[in-house]
Symmetry: D2
Subunit: 344 residues, 4 copies
């Protein structure tokens, strides 16, 4: 199958190239980019030196002629302007940006401060949290690939809220991310000397991934929730760890919590529930498509705690996008994704 | 004044040397250590090359003959065996370990899994959270220097609970620490290749600093509380950031929260409340005795959030110990502590 | 083909597991270890959670019954005691330690301070610098896998000395390594707080990889050389960068130097010579079996400079060992090694 | 004494503020900056929250009215345009940029690609390598503060070349620097995700500090030299380590080399020669004005090796500038610089 990548000069795009060039069913036929078009991709990303392809300016007709599927790894507010033309030409799209994740335009406007697609198109997009919406993904021609924070948070939280083990109205998510999540555009907030040996919180209560998480909890449980969510920037390149705190319902123990995780992911190849008492670490999934999880119960305070880790650029972006491709095509879910974590 | 340091071969001890040798009223007359006694301190810590002192095996009579004040920077379970002999000989003691922080032996036993001092001696110890118990510290001959996590957490939380701005029964503290807090003894959990580019949680719900924080909240408010507290290990050397989540009482806004912080620390030289909306970062206090703080209000969920940062080895250990020394002696609180943060 | 790994609880062993479990022609039938035998490998290395194998105590008969090839990833001084029994039983061996690299016992004794195998067995071992000794490796039953520093250094240096572009008697190699090269045993020298944000040199002029490099230069050129070699420890986990300085012969220019590199590696899939003027970076080969190289000429001083980078655990250890396996078996050199570098 | 700082919004400027505000003889009366003028300095640098000063646009008359000494911590090519007006008004200047270090305009042009001051003014500038040109600094009204690489390299190299222990024509300097040396302007080369866990060389043979080092060796020895110099970028914030390789003259041993270092710096408070065999580490001087040094002899190859470490922002910039101020004023050399290294 022929695939093209729009936004190949960002980190998410580069990861797509790393994964898709090893994918046995896929050929990358075009990579598109804006600022660096005309350059060999190997000049933009020296680690891809052995990939012989040039970055081209995007054109929907060209993409439709050369690809059956297009991945859009663009900044917020871009993909919704190009995807309609691709869909019209029969090209399937997997969007790694936030443009198609929220079902209501008004919500997007409010949290992103921008415009996005018509609601009809938003309705057509399937939210590609692969472990939870597999059936919908299978028939989709437009997949909204989840955000990095929502992937880690929802994989940890959904089993608990679905099984009714925790109170909906007392959930705190304290998330920590490596710096690659901020992308490749230089700025003071990602300047090495400012970030290294430093730790901070940001976008307190206003991160655009919040409505995405709330909408998805509602999609699974039918109940509205409000999450307190604070992301933190950690001096490392890759990895997200989400610590999820929720008040447990009466009688719930650690065993119930862990059983809910185990049951939810029994047949899911990319989610690994750790043995009781073992805390997941980000490095244990580095470079891979795994999400490692575990649940704990603080009996003194009655709080359930789930710790979930992913590699933000793989399971939190490019890897999950390939997983969605596999499901759309009816291929084995793990095709091309058998990458062991790189440790240490 | 003559001071001695017991446990000078650990990181806390080395920081005491860094601070005390510049202190205008103090002379370090002896440094004691166990495993490396007989060595020049400059061999144990090459950065202290210009400090001409040898590590000696500890002896209480010797210490009493040579020092007016002894700092004990020892592992848990050690200082309570040596401090009684020092106090009997009229030596004042500032203990950087956990041995004298908890007022009830049984609580210590439960959380530390060890024995500590008699309760009469525990009662005599003053908890040296300098900004909150200055009067008691002034008359003390035994100060229990606070733990690193409690220092950051309590400086952020106490103004809110004292002023009754938040509910007592819904408090979550998500704390993140650099690795130096784990001390200088090598082990797999602090091995560079295991920790670097890695992030994890540990001691979920069972960290020994929990009863210290709860006891201190009660000391200030008169009310019992239970905190959900989870520490995380971050791939950096120094720094603690505590993110404190609490349900705000009705009508409370960010302004109320920030005013409580500002009022609590108006005349406290080492606590800096950031301007509204500015998030503290650990690097902004690196190497200094500052605690930087700010409060936020997540109106959607009704949660108050405080972010507090310290250098765990300075304000969280050696720096606060010197601050306590200054207060015990009636010297200016900042004497010898005018260290600007080292940034970047 | 059935393979076993001795020393699977170290970093080199874990990398072998990562690579070999994806290798299409190989089944891992046993992993042996000393200190942690009896434990599931997934407990020793949580990132290998989905690998269902237990660490066993090593026994040569057992290994010979269960494996056709054994990889020995043991500390210096161990493999020479177990490999003879394996060879006698017809098992092929690939040794990742230094025990079989030096041809003269006396040299090993001098640089390693230990005993190693009989010289007859040392003579039988083929030095597995894959790009330079492919023919010998093809027929070998015992391969001495090169050290990490020699791999980077020799790949950079050999084309120049072989072509006679530089003087043999004026070569300086300044090498820099990430910390994973020091292995998984904790110690003060690899303690996070000591290494992070720190940089030092070590084993100045006495590193045990020196005779390995000199012996190999002689093997290729027929001329004796003496290298000045100093390794440095850099605060990162993976990666070696070797900066090689040599006095160029009269008339030599950057073009000659680069042409020698290009010619030497024209058909070598794992060596990438960068375009003129582009400096290799360690992260561009992270997690992969590549060695990236380039040559420069400092016309003012007449010095040739080669910069070579590898991932010390892949091309510098486990990856090259698998490459050697492929060559021993007559399989394509890249089988199971098509791992794109993980960047960023 | 009243001092002003031009370029206070860069890292060198911020370090000057950190040091000078604790200096007992100095008051900072103005800080000047270009891009951020009008802002409180505490907004530009939150760690300086307790410094109540605003960044102002520079004006020479204003500076001359308010300050006796001006520090210029500006990018290359700027200070030579403002210093003449300050000198005319009787203000002493300490320039932290490269504009006044090279004595010949043509050399500056060639290596910096820009214009600088008239040669008469260049002649008036005293090169402020404090340990070597103290007498000249004492009478100076214009000091060219040395570059970071030259400071580490020259302190290590000068004793050897002055005493004639090594050959002049076979010197290689392999230098490694933390990222803060690249300044505070964001760019891809200093973007966290590109630099972290990465290592590279840069400006091979063309770094603008090369002529500065060669000129100074000539100033001390009277002999022309050519250095092979390659800088490397290391994933840490602060610190430079220079590894200096030189062919030793016949009969020279490690003892001679170390004695030359010890003799050169016997009465120099900021240079610490390590005990025989001990390798300096950058973290041992972190945040301080020390340069730690040691010499080694590789008897096999006849090479002398010196390893020198500094904190690039202190001894390599702001600290040495304050040291120069002290010497210009006839104050004790260490005034305001009694900062113990921050370790770990």
């Amino acid at each position: 199958m022929r695939v093209a990548i729009l936004g190949a000069t960002g980190y998410g795009g580069a990861e797509l190239v790393r994964l898709l060039r090893r994918h046995p069913e896929v050929t990358i036929t075009a990579v598109y980019g804006h600022s660096q078009s005309g350059k060999p991709l190997a000049e933009v990303f020296p680690h891809l030196m052995d990939v012989d392809v040039e970055v081209e300016p995007f054109d929907a007709s060209d993409a439709a002629a050369r690809a059956d599927v297009v991945f859009t790894a663009t900044p917020a507010g871009v993909s919704h302007t190009v995807i309609p033309a691709l869909l019209e030409r029969g090209v399937r799209c997997i969007d790694l940006s936030g443009d198609f994740r929220l079902k209501r335009r008004e919500t997007y406007r409010q949290w992103y401060g921008k415009e996005t697609a018509e609601e009809a198109l938003l309705a057509r997009a399937v939210y590609g949290l692969a472990e939870w919406f597999a059936d919908a993904v299978r028939g989709a021609d437009l997949v909204a690939n989840p955000g990095c924070y929502p992937t880690a948070t929802l994989l940890g939280l959904l089993p608990l809220v679905k099984e009714g083990l925790v109170e909906d109205d007392d959930i705190v998510v304290d998330a920590k991310s490596g710096v690659s999540g901020a992308g490749r555009s230089p700025g003071l907030a990602t300047h090495f000397s400012e970030v290294n040996e430093n730790l901070t919180a940001y976008k307190i209560g206003v991160h655009q991934h919040i409505p995405e998480m709330e909408q998805t909890v509602t999609a699974v449980t039918g109940r509205a929730v409000r999450l307190t969510f604070i992301p933190h920037l950690v001096p490392m390149t890759r990895g997200i760890l989400a610590t999820i705190y929720a008040r447990a319902k009466a009688g719930v123990t650690e065993r119930h919590l862990r059983e809910a995780l185990v049951a939810a992911y029994a047949d899911k190849p990319f989610v690994r529930v750790r043995p009781a008492g073992v805390v997941p670490r980000t490095k244990d999934v580095y470079g891979s498509n795994y999400c490692d999880l575990n649940a704990f119960f603080d009996a003194r305070t009655g709080r359930a705690v789930v710790v979930a880790v992913i590699d933000n650029l793989v399971k939190g972006a490019a890897g999950q996008a390939v997983q969605n491709l596999n499901m759309m095509m009816g291929w084995p879910e793990t095709l091309g994704l058998d990458l062991g974590p790189v440790f240490p």
